[in-house]
């Protein structure tokens, strides 16, 4: 009895030990059955993004984009995004989709959009053969910031190369072989891409069923791709890429692509536009290096044959200045039209250098990754530097803060952009 009475006095301690042992057991429990494959899956993320722009009122693109509107020195924009990704499995087939819904508001306007990024049905009669049809975002090429070999995809944003992009309606297939020996893998991906008034109308001229294909080889330890797109909605093009590790922590990659009979509109400062037709050969060389201290360096050089030299771009900027100086409506319309097509594309120059350094677990904080990215137009020496802080240590959250600093003189790529600085923060929650 005395023993029981003694134990009773220690019951809080006993309870604590009991809880502690249950917690210890819980700590290392794992039941894989909770992760069984389900016939229907749904996931995605919600994101809240705040962007604050310092506007470059002397810049050609500021003048064009804000023509006829109240003039401002800064702009704040809030964007809410919901991205849903799902999968429905039935028999040998799988239907998967990804939608993107955005709501955007700044001092000048508000907007919303709902876009199907991907929606495709695929079947696999055998492990080496997959056939699918629907909207799909294929990603070809080995470049980190640019992909001159991305023939059947929307252009990548070099400021956010890892962002999901809207796909293109197509039918495609994947045939995989493993011959063995030095040639470890062969994979062939044929694509058929229709363009009409109601389908893929932004891809090119309508009324074409565009064929394209990619052949992938893993030869020894080198990834090699050959890609081709037949003449149709766009001029014919072909290219190749490679990627390999020279050392376990040192990777090199390259891309080469030629567009045949590419038409490039070129303007002079008076607004006289000539169409230059010729083969455009673009290429990219890059490397990725990881140090023992977990710093990753990415360096790329991009030769963009479809872009404009600094002299050609200078003529366009002069045209914009002339249009505003003279107040000529015709010149302004011409400049606006050119800015919305070829001259206003992101990275419309000829030669670019890209550099990124990112430090994993910096300052001893796990999941904290600061980085800095720099992009330079090599011909006019204008550049953009982007310091960035990212933290993924909170469960299911991704937090990122970036500051874009653009630097360049008059008539330079980054000096004539709409903004001179941008502060961006987003919080993304995955579910």
């Amino acid at each position: 009895m005395n023993v029981l009475r003694g134990l009773r006095r220690f019951w809080p301690l006993v309870l604590l030990f009991a809880i502690a042992s249950v917690k210890a057991a819980e700590e290392y429990s794992f039941d894989a059955s909770a992760f069984e494959k389900k016939p229907f899956e749904l996931g995605g993320y919600v994101e809240l993004k705040q962007e604050d722009f310092a506007l470059n009122r002397a810049g050609a693109f500021y003048k064009l984009n804000n023509f006829g509107q109240p003039q401002r020195d800064d702009l704040g924009r809030t964007t809410g995004t919901l991205q849903l990704a799902g999968k429905l499995r039935y028999g040998i087939g799988t239907f998967d989709f990804r939608t993107n819904s955005g709501l955007q508001r700044d001092q000048l306007a508000h907007d919303h959009d709902n876009t199907i990024f991907e929606a495709a049905y695929s079947i696999r009669p055998s492990p080496g053969l997959t056939m699918e049809a629907g909207k799909r975002a294929l990603k070809w090429g080995k470049g980190y910031a640019w992909n001159p070999m991305g023939f059947v995809e929307r252009p990548k944003d070099p400021n956010d190369p890892q962002l999901a992009r809207e796909g293109i309606w197509m039918a495609n297939s994947d045939l995989i072989f493993n011959p063995g020996g030095n040639l470890q893998t062969i994979a062939f991906t044929p694509v058929l891409l229709p363009v009409g008034n109601d389908i893929n109308s932004d891809f090119g001229a309508s009324g074409h069923l565009n064929p394209a294909a990619k052949l992938y080889l893993l030869y020894r330890d080198i990834d090699i791709d050959f890609a081709w797109q037949g003449k149709g909605s766009r001029p014919a093009r072909f290219g190749m890429d490679f990627s390999t590790n020279l050392m376990s922590n040192f990777e090199i990659h390259g891309e080469w692509a030629r567009i045949q009979q590419f038409t490039r509109p070129v303007t002079d400062s008076t607004g006289r536009v000539t169409s230059e037709v010729g083969n455009a050969t673009s290429y990219l060389l890059g490397l990725r290096y990881l140090t023992a201290g977990d710093t990753t360096y990415i360096v790329e050089y991009y030769r963009n044959a479809t872009g404009y030299s600094d002299q050609e771009a200078g003529q366009f900027y002069q045209l914009v200045n002339n249009a505003f100086a003279t107040g000529s409506g015709a010149l302004l319309q011409k400049a606006l039209s050119l800015s919305r097509s070829s001259y206003g594309r992101p990275n419309s120059g000829k030669d670019y250098l890209y550099f990124r350094a990112q430090q994993k677990d910096a300052l001893g904080i796990v999941y904290f990754q600061p980085s800095v990215t720099a992009m330079m137009n090599w011909q006019d020496r204008s550049y953009q530097v982007t310091p960035e802080l990212q933290y993924t240590g909170v469960k299911n959250f991704d937090l990122r803060l970036r500051l874009f600093l653009l630097q360049g003189g008059i008539s330079t790529d980054f000096g004539e952009k709409q903004n001179s600085r941008k502060l961006e923060f987003y919080a993304r929650y995955y579910f």
């Binding site: 090429g141 890892q162 994947d174 999941y367």
Partner: protein, 243 residues
């Protein structure tokens, strides 16, 4: 004279016969840990010095000595990521990025003490040669040296349970002799199908003081896979192979 020759031969041969065959032991350790081709589920737990945790769940398939693929099932921010290893080559496929990028064995796709070489581990005997094997206090101690410079750790010191022929502790060293991490195998469990092995693998590192990573194993089953799935083109569809 003949008798003398036999005696000399016996003296020469006896120590060799009694010597421990480290290579054979390492091969047995490999097979006792997993069948050559298998599927399994793993949970990775990263524990920070303040006690906070981050967990990942992976589905893994391996074929032969050096083909392995791992699919992230959880958390939602990493779901759909796939890592593939073919010999010394490693790639990471992120669904949003949409194309595989090459990664290195010393990186960690999870950010834990476990690096890619730990997560995509192939047979020890495929990567290491046994330099010495000795018996100490009922345990076998194997000193392993990497076959090439591409292997994540230059040297391993492996304590092996003499009866079960399963690893108990592994110390991983860099070429400089620096201890990178220690792996502790715990909780031997019967997974069925003749697979009896540790269900828990803990690791700590003098380079990450206060941090700990734990790997829990579940549903290890022998299963054969076609070669085609261990290719870059198959990575977006790898989940469809789960039963």
């Amino acid at each position: 004279m003949k008798k003398l020759m036999w005696l000399i031969l016996c003296f020469v041969a006896l120590p060799a016969a009694a010597a421990i065959d480290g290579t054979q032991i390492l091969q047995k350790v490999d097979r006792n840990l997993e069948p050559e081709s298998y599927e399994m589920y793993r949970k990775l737990i990263d524990i920070q010095p303040d006690g906070s945790k981050k967990e990942y769940v992976l589905y893994t398939m391996k074929k032969g000595r050096d083909k392995i693929v791992a699919l992230f099932l959880s958390p939602p921010s990493d779901k759909g990521r796939v890592t593939l290893r073919l010999g010394d080559n490693m790639w990471l496929y992120i669904r949003d990025v949409g194309r595989p990028i090459r990664i290195t064995s010393l990186q960690s796709v999870t950010g834990s003490i476990f690096n890619n070489a730990d997560i995509l581990r192939v047979d020890y005997s495929a990567e290491y040669n046994v330099e010495t094997a000795e018996e100490q206090k009922g345990a076998l101690i194997l000193s392993l040296k990497a076959k090439t410079g591409e292997v994540a750790y230059d040297r391993l010191k492996m304590w092996v349970d003499k009866q079960l022929l399963l690893p108990v502790t592994i110390e991983a060293y860099a070429a400089s002799g620096l201890l990178i991490k220690t792996l502790h195998f715990k909780d031997n469990k019967d997974f069925g199908g003749g697979i009896k092995r540790p269900a828990i693998l803990e690791t700590d590192s003098p380079l990450h003081k206060g941090y700990k990573s734990v790997m829990l194993f579940s549903a290890i089953k022998k299963r054969d896979f076609p070669d085609e799935i261990f290719t870059l083109n198959y990575l977006p569809r790898i989940e469809e192979l789960r039963k």
